[in-house]
């Protein structure tokens, strides 16, 4: 059986959206897929050695909140200072209570399972990012680099 291939593009840099690429990639690797993730724009935040990802309730009507606040709490007030860090803290606690792995753990599992992580060079240049803040051993490349693998993939996802 030749190895199946999964290619993922990760474009989001928030705590909640960090999960899909790393969950799918680590699971695919466990199922025997050769897997690559291409991180572009805000997705680059997922490659920092020290992650500081947050989740925001602002402009997210689908986000369940404690005490059913998503149903009655005025949207404008979710923009108040401290709301984002409070929601982030609560989300992290909930995940821990429910046995959901941390983003760091899932990312480590991906690295252990030889999931290839590619950082978008253009984004690095665009935002003047310091690559020493990122994980060691990353590959830096552009769209063509991604297509080299994605063109042969069985599954290709944009997250």
């Amino acid at each position: 059986m030749s190895e199946k291939k999964l290619a993922i593009i990760a474009t989001k840099g928030s705590l909640d959206w960090a999960y899909p690429p790393f969950i799918l990639a680590s699971t695919a690797a466990a199922l025997g897929y050769e897997t690559q993730i291409f991180f572009t724009f805000y997705g680059l935040q997922l490659l920092r050695k020290k992650l500081s990802l947050e989740v925001t309730p602002l402009g997210n009507p689908g986000m369940p909140m404690p005490m059913a606040m998503d149903k009655w709490f005025p949207v404008a007030l979710t923009a108040l200072p401290g709301m984002q860090s409070m929601m982030t803290m609560m989300m992290k606690k909930k995940m821990k209570d429910k046995g959901v792995a941390s983003v760091e753990d899932l990312r480590d599992l991906c690295v252990e399972a030889d999931v290839k992580l590619i950082a978008c060079q253009m984004t690095v240049d665009l935002f003047d990012m310091d690559t020493s803040d990122f994980l060691d051993g990353l590959e830096y490349g552009g769209a063509a680099t991604f297509f080299e693998f994605a063109g042969e993939s069985d599954i290709c996802l944009f997250v």
């Binding site: 969950i23 680590s26 699971t27 046995g99």
Partner: protein, 76 residues
């Protein structure tokens, strides 16, 4: 209960950790050996079925007892 060679306690863990831990445990085992897995994630029932189907390992048993899920998996 049938015999097994290794046990994995995945209680309290949520998707995809039970699968990932099982994969890790299997990789240290010999072909033909049996892994016993205990989990509390209800999603793990379907997930272990799918996992074995795709990896060629054999799911010998899958049962629920007292809110916990028990699996016997034979390494191919």
């Amino acid at each position: 209960m049938a015999d097994f060679d290794q046990e994995l306690d995945a209680t309290g863990l949520n998707c995809p950790l039970p699968i990932l831990r099982a994969k890790k445990a299997l990789s240290s085992m010999q072909a033909g050996q049996v892994l016993h897995i205990i989990a509390t994630d209800p999603g793990s029932v379907k997930d272990f079925e799918a996992f074995t189907k795709q990896t060629g390992n054999e799911l010998m048993e899958s049962k629920e007892e007292g809110g916990k899920f028990y699996f016997l998996m034979k390494k191919s």
